[in-house]
């Protein structure tokens, strides 16, 4: 067998190997995707009510302190200014600690 014929066979072999690897990888990926989908369906069928969590916990930020009243409702502890803070742009009254105006969206500097 000549060198050229050997190289040709080698190239064809390499091509076939690449195709086989591609098919195998694709099948594995589809299988993994199905597994995720099945997990998804199982989870949905479990009908567990979604759990509500504080977004600040996800970022390791301490949310503002809260007061718990006798009725069990929690309200944020906020220091009340003598007069309510208003938006310098539109004059709308601002919530304590607000960084943006609820009416016009102006950024409020502290």
């Amino acid at each position: 067998m000549s060198y050229d014929a050997a190289m040709g066979l080698f190239a064809i072999g390499l091509f076939v190997i690449i195709i086989v690897i591609r098919v195998v990888v694709r099948k594995a990926a589809n299988k993994a995707s199905d597994a995720v989908r099945n997990k998804w369906v199982d989870h949905k069928e479990a009908k567990e009510p979604p759990q509500r969590m504080n977004l600040a916990d996800r970022y390791g930020v301490q949310p503002q302190a809260t007061n718990t009243s006798q009725s069990g409702r929690t309200t944020p502890v906020v220091s009340q200014p003598a007069s309510p803070k208003v938006c310098p742009q539109c004059g709308k009254e601002l919530r304590a600690g607000a960084q943006f105006c609820p009416s016009c969206g102006t950024k409020i500097g502290n």
Binding site: F10, V25, R26, A29, N30, A32, S33, D34, V36, W40, H43, K44, P50, Q51, R52, M53, N54, L55, A56, R58, Y59, V61, P63, Q64, T66, P76, R95, G97, A98, Q99, F100, C101, P102, S103, C104, G105, T106, K107
Partner: protein
Amino acid sequence: MVWGIFAFVAIIAVVSYSYASGKTKDLEKEGLFVKRDISYIRQGTVFFTSGTYNEIEAAVKATEPKLSQQGIIIKYFPNEQAITLESNHKAWIALLEHKGTQDGKNVFMFSFPQWQTRNGVPTDPIKMNVAITAIEKAMLAVDPQTAVESHELKIKTK
């Protein structure tokens, strides 16, 4: 010769992997990316906040320069009280919309109605993570007491 080709392919693979993981680490350092379970793509994130649409729009606008650097296009729909984020490659689209009020809190839902996949895997999961991270941070900036729920969604990928 053959070993040379194999070595070249291996080097290319290692370099691309290092580049991709380095990019993710940079985004993480900048605070634009947070490691999370990939299932968030198929879930709707519901926010309960005392912030209004205008406040949230302003907070999202504040992050817009960083997001546009990442190739994320943001559109605002004040009449519908909705914000869309999409990749400039059209690989996915995200929607944040005001759903109403509950117990005196405004309810907003963030979800990915569409995304492209390759072999069942999302093609641009890093930028999708950047998008949801930006929305979460905007929500926290407006109201640090924001609560979240994750809801399963029925979504079909193309």
